[in-house]
Amino acid sequence: MSASTAPPRRVLAWSAPALLLLIALPFVVPPYQTVLLSYGLVFAIAALGFNLLLGYTGLLSFGHSAYFGTGAYAVAFIVKYLKLESMEAFLLGGILASGAVAALFGLLCVRYTKIFFGILTLALSQVLWSLAFKFFWVTGGSDGLRVPTPTLLGGTVRAGGDKFEFLSHRYYFYVLAVFVICTAVMWVIVHSPFGKALQAIRDNETRAEFVGVQVWRYRWVAFLISGMFTGLAGALWVPLNGLTTPDILHWTFSGKMVFFTVLGGFQTFFGPIVGAILYNYLETYAVGNTVYWQMVLGIVLVVLVLALPAGVVGTIRRLVLRPAKVA
């Protein structure tokens, strides 16, 4: 049941080519595909944050839409009230706002585990959703708030005339860079003594407490970091979408986050990343090809839980590692 402990060399051996592929892709595939991939990478950042709680701390949150949405709405408010359009300001605002919300909600939630933790996170996220939905003179209600194309890197990179060209090229590389940084930071976190303590708590709370780990404080910090990653993803998501609506605060969006984390495999480090990108393609093509896309996703989820509980990455890893162990 342990999370990925693959040695760095082997991880580099396949993550370096994967990164090169991601860099080369915009020059090969049509711009629409690049934008689609940007969405996937943004969700992957959210999934990384989400999985710090689920995979490494053993807490299933059904309310992570709260932090994603807070990040997105923070950006919309920065535009609306501060009249800024710098992406760095957006990211900073997104991280700070979602961090503040996660710090508060975390204080309340980490006292519980299992189903109570799930329901409490869900109820709190629904509070934010109903506020965004009802206070339409601040949040635009169900119409949401528009967000213009930002300027990147302190105003040095601007959108120019063609918004789509900007999103599929310059903004894609921006998202990719943030994604790589986030992945590296999360890798360091989960392999640090702090990360090991979280895994100890997940595997046996009583023993962890016995060896001197302050369980609730570690859980709270994990909750905070998790919320900030997800909020950062929300802030990155808004310029892509051009609009933020209460939908991303609704608990069904939290359900999607759980979905793609499990799709990739929450017991591995890279599983949620793969899951988020895959899920994004799956949803986009399902929505594009049938009005019954929810049914397609539901069937995939049911089959996944029944047949492949380790997720895509977990299953591949098992298939690859098993012969090695025999030899």
Binding site: K114, K134, G255, V258, M295, G298, L301, V305
Partner: protein, 293 residues
């Protein structure tokens, strides 16, 4: 004075429906330790089936005859039948697995059922308002109140009483409570746990379906009604205590009253107040007002 009575009746109407939904959710959790995220969809399913049956029964007529009211429980039986199929096929393989997977499979079921209803009945709302209008209205002081709403309140109260008698006064109730308290011990004493699980799940789904059936003449059936109802049912069971039927009753009444007051006095934060209420109860008494840890 009569406005207070009307508000009170509205609160009770709301509480009746919420009790039926949340009572089913709580019963299923109490016996099987599963939080069924698709529970709201069974409520919606009941509403759709009843609306469809009433529409068929009505034919081209606009006036509802008496026998049409007998079609009301059709949705409840349909939801129960659906539950009886779902439990052995989808949930049973998962009892030995971590509860994350149980939540996930019911989330998958939620997505599927949402689209099954779209597939069967299309994207437009279904009405059964002939039943609602057929009963006319009565006057309370100077206000007019729809008679049908009173019928719903009576059905809700009757269902609560019947359920209480069922759980505390019958042989089946004893087995149910025994399984809920200690599944292994009950099994060791010869209880067929698989059968109890199917029965409990079916009964819970029946209640959800009944809620949908009785409310559909008043509100109609729309896509997405299940997802909204589920969260409010969560609020009810969290306040009352997961797994406790009495708790679901208290929670439903509280939610009904707060909601009615909210719609009247603070419409902007009505929903937020409900969710905060649930969060507050969880913080003070994690197991709910009447729950056991």
């Amino acid at each position: 004075m009569d406005t207070i009575v009307v508000h009170l009746l509205n609160a009770l109407l709301y509480a009746s429906v919420m009790f039926l939904i949340a009572g089913g959710l709580s019963l299923i959790y109490g016996v099987m330790r599963i939080v069924n995220l698709a529970h709201g969809n069974l409520y919606a399913f009941g509403a759709y089936v009843t609306a469809w049956a009433v529409g068929r029964g009505l034919g081209g007529a606009t006036e509802a005859s008496f026998w049409l009211y007998l079609l009301l429980p059709v949705g409840a039986f349909a939801a129960a039948a659906l539950g009886a199929v779902l439990e052995p096929t989808l949930l049973r393989p998962l009892y030995r697995r971590a509860e994350e997977y149980q939540l996930l499979i019911t989330f998958g079921l939620l997505l599927i059922l949402e689209d099954v209803m779209r597939l069967l009945w299309g994207p437009y709302p279904l009405q059964a308002s002939a039943l609602y209008e057929g009963l006319g209205s009565l006057t309370i002081g100077e206000s007019i109140y729809p008679t049908y709403n009173l019928v719903v309140i009576v059905i809700g109260a009757a269902a609560a009483a019947a359920l209480w008698a069922f759980v505390y006064r019958t042989q089946f109730g004893v087995v149910l409570r025994a399984t809920s308290q200690n599944m292994r011990m009950a099994q060791a004493l010869g209880v067929n746990v698989n059968r109890v699980y199917v029965q409990a799940f079916t009964l819970g789904c029946f209640m959800a379906g009944l809620a949908g059936s009785v409310i559909v003449p008043q509100q109609g059936a729309v896509l997405g009604m299940g997802v909204d109802a589920l969260i409010l049912a969560f609020v009810v069971v969290v306040i009352g205590g997961l797994g406790s039927l009495e708790g679901a009753l208290i929670g439903a009444v509280m939610v009904g009253v707060v909601r009615e007051a909210g719609i009247t006095f603070f419409p902007e934060i009505e929903l937020a107040v409900l969710y905060l209420m649930a969060a507050l109860v969880l913080l003070i008494r994690p197991a709910g007002i009447l729950g056991r840890a």
